[in-house]
């Protein structure tokens, strides 16, 4: 136990203890006070954790030294600390948002205390999950995370969609845990140990290792939401309370990525087919994830599909890393995994930003359908700005953080093509084009979202749009992070580099990430910002000089334009959605009456998930049908029961006679 006295660990453990303590404050009768005090204490705890994580050589110059606490049950090596850092970093703004989010439910007289408890368990179990070093402990944390998330998810449980979506999540998570059972059994069998730190397996040791890889790919892939396994994600995330959907997309699905990276660490080096598998699945997830997103009208569903896309991008990075490790190229590995890790952080940041922003909007408008939104920029300027920053970042457009990680991944592609000649360049180029295509789709999607939600005129009359300081501050923190990482990537890249070179990538720790001259970006972006500012001042001056006024928009001479004449989201995206109609299961219904006095015409378009609507549900229904056919077991007559005894005895006796 003396290892607990270590200065790092004291702070570290203190953090968790404080977080646990916050549950005490729920005993306060007045719900508002209880909420407030609990979250405050929780925040303090998280802050402590973050400090301890940062102080543990993440941002300092020292090398990360992996420490074991609680007799190896907890291990803090580079990867764990990095993911712990992500969890705590993102959890803080989300928790801040909790204040204002739950006020709403208190007004509705909903019992929120359960929710807070489950949220607390969720946070803590997730933090423990990424630092767990023992398989059973890992599984326990995993299930604690899953189930507490589920229980918190059903806050508005009487709604039908909530039941449905949460059940998807629930059932899928059970599949995951079964897969993980077998995964860890095999690992245990091969190494004879339950501790992660003992898992070092050569891929060449027999058929079972590929099975391990596949299992981890499926199990953690379902959690992460790679394309064939993503079907639960767009069901579950929209119906969750916005706080949770932010946490889900921001942090929880990243545990899947964590798992896959861990598996890589166990099996390093992996053969090349793993890399190709990863790349193909990821590029599919990326392209179709964003394409599905484009087809959605439900903002949170749309964002959920964007998580699929971004997980795809992360997966691309990991795939590059795999290929690098297969060909024993540390440089490529560093670039691939570096891009993946940095994108994990970035996505955690901007995705939670977007979810919180959409949560604020949805709560005020009491709808998630973006076709009913619009003109909110005049209502809530700051929210609009933050959301805009988030969307620019998620589309991977400079000068924000999304671009940095995607840039690393691109560089990884170039590097791979460079290092291994012959047919590699052309394949890599294909992937590059795919990634660029994804970027274009993302731009289309987020211009749509922003413009329909925030710009133009209000499509639905908004009585009062209430934003609290908490919303703005939590969004502000996240937006600030986006900007900082975008403008000054150096330290973050350094962290990622350190994490990777610390026991993750074998071979000489090459500094390929550092070699990219990041200072260019800082200079270019800041000069852009500066010149925009200057030009803006000039513009103001000129407008002073030559005058400026506002007038209604030009409507081809038609005078009284009204908000319903604005361009809608579905028409914005229609042209793109009709291209992969069959995959998106994209239906349009147009009713135009041809009568002399035309009735109002209708248009509606919606897209179902292919995997869900064409594979999962049919299979389940088929099974149900099949089982329904089995009648002979449901006899009510006692004589049949007796007959069963006789029959079974005869059968068994026959077996006995035939037994050699």
């Amino acid at each position: 136990m003396n290892d607990l006295i270590d200065s790092h660990n004291v702070l570290f453990i203190a953090a968790f203890i404080i977080q646990l303590l916050s549950i005490v404050f729920l005993s306060i009768k007045n719900e508002r006070k209880a909420l407030f005090s609990t979250n405050i204490v929780l925040l303090i705890g998280l802050a402590f954790g973050l400090i301890s994580t940062l102080s543990s050589t993440l941002f300092t110059s020292a090398e990360i030294s992996s420490r074991n606490i609680f007799s190896n049950f907890i291990r803090l090596d580079g990867l764990s600390i990095y993911f712990l850092f992500i969890v705590q970093l993102v959890a803080i703004p989300i928790t801040i948002y909790n204040f204002s989010y739950l006020q709403h439910y208190i007004e509705q007289k909903r019992p929120i205390k359960n929710f807070i408890i489950f949220y607390l368990i969720l946070l803590i179990s997730t933090q423990f999950l990424v630092i767990a070093n023992q398989a059973i402990f890992f599984l326990i944390c995993w299930e604690a995370m899953t189930i507490s998330a589920y229980l918190a998810m059903v806050l508005e449980r009487e709604k039908e969609e909530v039941q449905r979506g949460s059940f998807y999540y629930f059932a899928t998570s059970h599949v995951i845990i079964f897969v993980l059972y077998i995964f860890f059994f095999l690992l245990h069998h091969l190494t004879g140990s339950w501790f992660f730190s003992d898992y070092h397996i050569l891929f060449s040791t027999g058929i079972v290792v590929p099975i391990i890889f596949i299992l981890s790919f499926i199990g953690f892939g379902i959690k992460a939401g790679f394309m064939p396994f993503h079907f639960w994600l767009p069901q579950a995330h929209p119906i969750a309370p916005s706080v949770l959907s932010a946490f889900f997309s921001g942090v929880m699905i990243k545990t899947g990525i964590y798992g896959i990276l861990r598996t890589f660490q166990f099996l390093n080096p992996v053969p090349e087919w793993c890399g190709w598998l990863m790349l193909c699945v990821s590029i599919i997830s990326a392209i179709f994830g964003v394409w599905y997103a484009l087809a959605q009208h439900d903002i949170k569903r749309l964002l959920a599909y964007h998580s699929v896309e971004n997980i795809g991008i992360i997966g691309i990075g990991i795939g590059i890393g795999f290929i690098g490790s297969a060909n024993n190229l540390p440089v490529v590995q560093v670039l691939g995994f570096g891009g993946a890790l940095l994108h994990t952080l970035n996505h955690a940041i901007f995705k939670s930003l977007l979810f919180i922003g959409s949560g604020v909007v949805c709560q005020n408008l009491e709808t998630r359908n973006i076709e009913l939104m619009g003109g909110l920029v005049h209502r809530a300027k700051y929210i609009a700005i933050f959301f805009l920053i988030g969307s620019v970042a998620i589309s991977g457009i400079p000068p924000f953080n999304g671009f940095i990680s995607e840039f690393i991944i691109y560089t990884g592609f170039f590097k791979t093509a460079n290092e291994l000649k012959n047919y590699y360049p052309i394949i890599m180029l294909m992937f590059v084009v795919g990634l660029a295509f994804v970027g274009g789709l993302a731009v289309a999607c987020f211009t749509k979202v922003n413009s329909i939600m925030f710009l133009g005129n209000e499509r639905k009359e908004v009585k009062h749009f209430h934003t609290s300081i908490y919303d703005n501050s939590s969004l502000g923190i996240l937006a600030l992070l986006c900007v900082v990482i975008g403008f000054y990537p150096q330290p973050f890249v350094g962290v990622v580099n350190k994490v990777i070179t610390n026991g993750f990538v074998k071979g000489n720790s090459s500094s390929a990430l550092i070699n990219i001259d990041w200072l260019y970006f800082t200079v270019i972006f800041s000069s852009i910002a500066l010149s925009v500012f200057v030009l803006y001042l000039i513009k103001i001056k000129l407008e002073k000089k030559y005058g400026r006024r506002t007038s209604p928009a030009w409507g081809c001479g038609y005078e009284n334009l009204n908000p319903r004449m604005q361009y809608t989201a579905s028409s914005f995206a229609d042209e793109l959605n009709t291209i992969p109609k069959s995959v998106l299961v994209y239906h349009k219904k147009v009713e135009i009456s041809e009568t002399a006095f035309p009735l109002p015409s209708k248009f509606e378009s919606h897209s179902k998930d292919f995997i869900d609507s064409k594979i999962i549900l049919p299979l389940f229904n088929f099974l149900k049908l099949l089982v329904g056919k089995i009648e002979f077991l449901s006899q009510t007559d006692v004589r049949y029961y007796i007959a069963f005894i006789l029959i079974i005895i005869t059968i068994y006796s026959l077996i006995a006679f035939l037994w050699v």
Binding site: S634, T636, D637, V638, R639, I642, A643, I645, L646
Partner: protein, 210 residues
């Protein structure tokens, strides 16, 4: 001697199979009880012991007097129709029974090669068990089911004597007691059933299902 009794037992079984009156079942139960009692008595012909007589006495008491009387009482109380209601006619039932009895006899004959056991009581006991099951399976009346169960029990008893199992007397008594209580409870249940469902048919017992 044992074989003779066993044959008698088998004959009683045949009677059960062909008869179509409930009362006949009770009579058969009595007869079988007597046969079993005699079977138990056989050893005491040679060396009599007052202590050993207890078991046959109880058997006689339970199987010949108490249970049949009780069943008769139930039949009278519930004025059950005297016809058993078979689900298949006798002309089909009898061949099945005979066939299975033949199978059993042959099988036990083969089995007796490996370990020496007196085949006839063994086989007849076993066929009583099977026939008891058949009766339960192919008759509608619940009271007949009870009789079938009792025949099964008798069969087991005969079977036990055949394999010459030395169960301690206390446990033998316990088994007898158990059987009696089972029948007793079944009687009560029948009473209730006939009160609850008028003109009780097995088909009425179809409420519990998925």
């Amino acid at each position: 001697m044992e074989n003779v009794l066993s044959i008698l037992f088998c004959l009683s079984l045949f009677y059960v199979v062909v008869t179509s009156r409930v009362k006949a079942y009770v009579t058969v139960l009595r007869v079988q009880g007597i046969i079993l009692a005699i079977l138990l008595m056989i050893p005491f012909i040679y060396h009599f012991s007052i202590f050993g007589i207890i078991l046959p006495a109880t058997l006689l008491l339970v199987k010949v007097f108490l249970i049949p009387r009780y069943i008769n009482k139930v039949i009278l109380d519930l004025d059950i129709k005297r016809r058993i209601e078979p689900t298949i006619q006798q002309m089909v039932f009898l061949p099945i029974v005979i066939a299975s009895m033949i199978v059993i006899f042959l099988a036990s004959n083969i089995l007796s090669k490996s370990t020496e056991l007196n085949v006839i009581p063994f086989a007849s006991g076993f066929s009583a068990i099977v026939i008891g099951i058949y009766i339960i399976m192919f008759r509608k009346k619940l009271i007949v089911h009870v009789c079938g169960f009792l025949i099964l029990e008798n069969g087991i008893f005969l079977f036990g004597t055949a394999v010459a199992s030395e169960l301690p007397m206390m446990i033998e008594l316990g088994t007898l007691l158990d059987v009696f209580v089972v029948v007793f409870l079944m009687g009560i249940a029948l009473n209730r059933i006939s009160n609850t469902f008028e003109g009780f048919e097995i088909t009425d017992l179809g409420r519990l299902k998925d």
